[in-house]
Symmetry: C2
Subunit: 193 residues, 2 copies
Amino acid sequence: MADGITDRVRPRDRILETAQDMFHKHGIKGVGVDAITEAAGTNKMTLYRHFESKDELIIQCLRASAAKGAAIWDEFEAEHPGDKLAQLHAWVHKVADMLAADGRGCDMANAAVELTEPNHPARSVIKELKSAQRDRLVALCRDAGIGQAELLADTLSLLFEGARVSVQTMGCQGPSTQFVRMAEGLISSFRAR
Amino acid sequence: MADGITDRVRPRDRILETAQDMFHKHGIKGVGVDAITEAAGTNKMTLYRHFESKDELIIQCLRASAAKGAAIWDEFEAEHPGDKLAQLHAWVHKVADMLAADGRGCDMANAAVELTEPNHPARSVIKELKSAQRDRLVALCRDAGIGQAELLADTLSLLFEGARVSVQTMGCQGPSTQFVRMAEGLISSFRAR
DNA sequence: TCTGATAGTTACAGACCGGTAACACCCTAG
DNA sequence: CTAGGGTGTTACCGGTCTGTAACTATCAGA
């Protein structure tokens, strides 16, 4: 291989990064561990030395994916320091960009659809990570001085989640193109109350 | 078996009904054709005499699922003949009931998440069925005398879709419990314009 | 130079997958 | 009664899946 990355990055990190990407694109049940290790330039034994099972790998991928999403929020704070309302609007536009750029939805939501067993170890992790996302949006709405911050945050959350699904069912030219208009309308409507 | 149903209903219909139920509960990739035929009280050969492949069975299940959903709309018309606004409110409450009663989401949306291949034969069917759903809601909003009927219908659609996903990620006690409040707020907001 | 941890290779186990072949059975229409 | 279509049964094909065993190669640090 000698592609640089393979040499410098440790196998565990390469596996995690590759698995994240492949799970996102092809779904969890659509990718086998063999395919992951091959794409990561390593082998199955090394994967099982670092992750005790595919389920454990899935969980670590979900955590990594959520961490990447959380990192975006720091950009909002950096771009609009202290201005929570501006950060909320930045969130809306960032979300719209994601809808246009990525034809697949949220990794956690997709995983919840695929892993139907009620006691699958990933389910509690998904719930935990999704709750954290919600809490952050609620806090942003509240700090932006909006009454009924929880209701607005939940509405925006569901709208976002629905848009990401809609991209998968009806394509990126469907209803999701109206996301900014919908979200901005909601925000101004809540601010007027 | 001699469970009555097995005797009276034709194998093809039993397979279709059983497959729908199992795909809905366990996901498409989570159910094999053997499991379907066994649960339907028949066998694999009979399945392949009626459906040329698993993919074809999936498509027929999606069509059947959408047809069941469409049948609900006729109830609205029967309960509130001519009163389109009342029918829209009936839709909102029916949707809320579904959110509370069923922990799994929309069959078409779930299928879109699972079947990631861009040229999978089910994808075009999903798009077609989802577009028909959207068109029906748009027409209802327009006939209810609402300006910007398309925008309201799309907003309600995404909200609904998001709520069905939210039930799977955060449970039926999460943000989806606020669906009626959100939807009613949107409708009255659009009517006020 | 020796040691020990990390990583790669090959082969395999056991299960499950979608799909097919060949054949026996039953039930109904004629 | 008989013919034939729909159905059930068994066995099988080739492939893929997660996970493991046994062995080898590499390389850094003492």
